[in-house]
Symmetry: C2
Subunit: 362 residues, 2 copies
Amino acid sequence: MATFPLAPGSTIGVLGGGQLGRMLAMAAARLGFDVVVLTPEADSGAGRVATRTLVAGYDDEKALRALAKVADVVTFEFENVPAGVVEALERLGAAVAPGAKALAVSQDRVEEKRFLNACRAPTVDFAAIDSAADIAAGLDRLGAPALLKTRREGYDGKGQTWVESHADAIAAFARIGGVPAILEARAEFARELSVIAARGRDGAVATYPLGENHHENGILRRTRAPAVVSPNVHEQAEAIAARILTGLDYVGVAGVELFEFDDGRLLVNEIAPRVHNSGHWTLDGCEVDQFEQHIRAIAGWPLGPAHALAQVDMENLIGADIDRWPALIGEADARLWLYGKSETREGRKMGHINRLRPLKRG
Amino acid sequence: MATFPLAPGSTIGVLGGGQLGRMLAMAAARLGFDVVVLTPEADSGAGRVATRTLVAGYDDEKALRALAKVADVVTFEFENVPAGVVEALERLGAAVAPGAKALAVSQDRVEEKRFLNACRAPTVDFAAIDSAADIAAGLDRLGAPALLKTRREGYDGKGQTWVESHADAIAAFARIGGVPAILEARAEFARELSVIAARGRDGAVATYPLGENHHENGILRRTRAPAVVSPNVHEQAEAIAARILTGLDYVGVAGVELFEFDDGRLLVNEIAPRVHNSGHWTLDGCEVDQFEQHIRAIAGWPLGPAHALAQVDMENLIGADIDRWPALIGEADARLWLYGKSETREGRKMGHINRLRPLKRG
């Protein structure tokens, strides 16, 4: 087992070959770490900047053995890492961060909400659903319409559907494939915010200023940060993030999605146990960005500062947005991050641009 | 031949596997380029973050052919690239930037000084040396002591010696190996400054604020930037840099080392036709650092802004300095860059740290 803090020259393993893995690899390299990426993709964005790539399925025993052999700590860029993979890596002697508990909680929307409420991180009311009858009972308590989501998997708006009425229960359950689900009360929120926070191996927590998120077709389109929020909202968000990360005995960076209501109340929508798209503004708005912060945390290094140095409007470049590159490369006070994906597909995140302005004081 | 501006997904070739190549590769990746590094080192710092590494000598015809085949533009991290290598790459259809002229001029200290003086970039007086007799004649004109340097190669204080008197001429010539040399008048300068400048394919020039450099044992130890200089010195440096880059029809980033005299006069010490150690402060002190600026220039992208956003004290971590990492990782307002070199050697640049302070206005 590795001893922390990891010395420069140690190796960090990353499960996942997408843009989050890519930016984690770049941050790790800056700090002198080698990076080994495990991904099923032969030609991945993360693999292009990693010291080494293992091209294999995440449950490939041979690849996991190779990864555990070289990596002092293993992390991941997506929350749907099978529990068996983490167990296998740990059995093979690799430290995995953030750990199995964070994954278990965030992989199951019912477990997640139960955990959140248990650690005084408020959420919408919800019901666990195993049948259309459960949906009808849930609507009695939560009101209609209510949002039906698969308990497991689903992202960017996939695996969810609105249930308009009792009459829709059977059809709605069919629409999500008849799998175990959660029914969530409708939240008449005013804004979607998110908070990116890190927890070190020493238990220290660092919280970035809030971002204000705008989605299109279920995909994050823009984050504005630091969001203009009341001191009360800021304090609530910091307290919620700290309770969640401490409750999970978390090591690394997490994204916490929040609903803000007109009265200033916050509810937690969901936790992402990883660096988060709504934290990409930190790449150019903070001294230590979320990727370096995550590497620092999992390596057992002290966390860096998390305050903002600039006002950032982050725009995701999705699908054909990337064709705008000839204009984007000439924009003043804008920082371009492209993900090295060889194929442009509709809805695929190809890069992002951070537009910078002087920080609003207040 | 490539068409400019290069589209994201294009490939940039880098000759050299050290820290400059590494940071160039990281900057290129951020902008969505693939990077192929050619280096004789099997386990190089740059190769660790590149998409692909060709391990071969720089004059290996097969490797050059492979590089020219995949790279849309080829650049280098060191100025001693043999002219034949550039010719071979160009013959094989690869664009090389900065070009053959910049290399030819900067590889020969006599040619360099002749070029500089021809484009009104003043230098110390000098004499071309082919024999001990030339040294004696040179001392008559330049005075003693004078500095004898090999015309070609030599860096970090290597390949040079002071000639104390006429009596020392024969021994001094022997000390540098009896090769073609330059004798330079002693410069009683007050400070060593440097200016990092970029020129785009459109001929635009962007100049970073000056850095003040401190050497130990012939190796750069610290750069403070922006250096506190008079407006006159700032203007001289900008004009000199622009004349040099335009005179060389340069594409990319160059470092220009300067001597500042008590009366505010500047002389050019030498040109480095590449990103430069004294420009590492830009990594954390500017919106667009010298590495991204170089990639932008050679890719035919518009240059980015070059003004300072912070005051930076850059300290090189040389040899055993790297053993101070447990303290360095916890420093507030300091950004660490480590080079992924597996072996620590005396005098070897292992990394650097940028210590940040708010910008001094004035």
